[in-house]
Amino acid sequence: MSFDLNLIAESLPMMLMGIGITFKLLIISGFLGLTLAIFLLLMRISGRWYLSFPAQVYIYVFRGTPILVQIFIIYYGLPQFETVRDSIFWPILREPMGCAILALTLNTGAYVSEILRGGVLGVSKGILEAGSALGMSVRQKFIYLTAPIAARLALPAYSNDVISLLKSTALASTITIADMTGIARTIVADTYAPYEIFISLAIVYMIFTFGIQKLFGVIERYLGRYTQREG
């Protein structure tokens, strides 16, 4: 079997035209997902069953079903309902991009809230007791003690989820979105050369993953500067 380097050289620039879409999916759903995750976390640790129970159910549903199925339900399923078509969200849900961002956001939000909860549980009880003994309120302890320490503890697992989200964006190609994977699939359909195209696509994702790893390494060193004895 031959490996057509020319084909890679020709198709790589075309696939890279999808970078913008891939990054749009990653950044918007990453940001919205993190926001959602913080709300879910606050609900879960509120100590009130009518807040924590719905959050738990939500997390269970979105972790318990494949993200591809979630994308299909939102893209193919929701427009069946007239109320959805009449709602103010229709301009977003009508577009595949809106559906993909919604699905990725809802999915990553469930995972990230559990990651953040891990960080919160990792904050030592003694530190919070010291805050109480100084007269700090529950809210003050959360903002000034729990949140910054938990963020540092959750960061390695969170970076893992961002990398996972990057690769989940490829699923958007199944609902007609021309991200890098979408473009690659089109090229494969034209050239019948899945081997060359998908391998070069895989390498592009790996390069981005490398960049994300490096970025989180920098953030980790910054947030973790208090864990180093020197400097």
């Binding site: 030592s124 003694g126 530190i127 007791e129 010291a130 805050g131 109480s132 003994a133 100084l134 007269g135 700090m136 309120s137 003050q140 000034y144 003690l145 910054p148 320490i149 540092r152 500067r225 208090y226 864990t227 180093q228 004895r229 020197e230």
Partner: protein, 250 residues
């Protein structure tokens, strides 16, 4: 040299505390007057930490009354925070805020709880860091300090809130031997200035020289309460004698 103010600063009356079915405190009655220095000792699991943690409501009691400076501890959050502002606490494991520099550790609660402006909070922080003799560590993170230094910072952090009462929960138990004295010195200084103190500690030298009264606890009860001379030289209860022979024998 206990003063004789009409109202005791701390009153515990018939306090019981349960952890599930285990009774950690049994009918505790204790009065502490302003300026008194109390040392609490007793075997592990005797309820001494639980008792002082009830005083600033890190633990809530099940029965009885705890009245601090005229304010009774109840479930009311406002009352608890009002009491906690007056009661400083030092923990066995220091519990500094690891993500903040030393000076920020000392400023945080001043700014949030006492609403003191930043510049003034910093000034107060540096004042107390000088008093515990480590102003040069102000900009470091806690991890860079030795255990003894961290515990002195913890004491300074509590003092920044200008408390009426200081609680010490085994402040030297987690320290390497050579660091114990630097912490005890700070505590002795504090006692000399007339701070009302309750110290859970096994440092019997400190107890003998500083305490007005020593309280011996066992199995959740106050077994004996006496001035140091009497406590060490002429203990009444058999349990006290046994405890003293165990800790003073080597």
């Amino acid at each position: 040299m206990s003063t004789s103010d009409a109202q005791p600063l701390i009153q515990m009356q018939g306090v019981n505390k349960f952890f599930g079915s285990f009774q950690a405190l049994k009918n505790i009655n204790l009065e502490v007057r302003k300026g008194e220095r109390i040392v609490v000792c007793g075997p592990s699991g005797s309820g001494k930490s639980t008792m002082i943690r009830c005083i600033n409501r890190l633990e809530d009691h099940n029965d009885g009354h705890i009245i601090i400076d005229g304010k009774e501890l109840t479930d009311q959050v406002k009352d608890i925070n009002a009491v906690r502002r007056e009661v400083g606490m030092v923990f066995q494991s220091f519990n500094l805020f690891p993500h903040m520099t030393i000076v920020k550790n000392l400023m945080l609660a001043q700014q949030l709880v006492r609403k003191i402006p930043k510049a003034e909070a910093r000034e107060t922080a540096m004042h107390y860091l000088k008093r515990v003799k480590i102003p040069e560590q102000a900009e470091k993170y806690p991890i860079a300090l030795s255990g003894g230094q961290q515990q002195r910072v913890a004491i300074a952090r509590a003092l920044c809130m200008k408390p009426e009462i200081m609680l010490f929960d085994e402040p030297t138990s987690a320290l390497d031997p050579e660091m114990i004295n630097e912490v005890l010195e700070v505590m002795v200084d504090l006692a000399k200035e007339g701070m009302t103190m309750i110290c859970v500690t096994h440092e019997m030298g400190f107890a003998r020289s500083v305490a007005d009264r020593i309280i011996f606890m066992d199995e959740g009860e106050i077994v004996e309460e006496a001035a140091p001379a009497q406590f060490f030289d002429n203990p009444k209860s058999e349990r006290t004698k046994k405890f003293l022979s165990q800790i003073l024998s080597h």
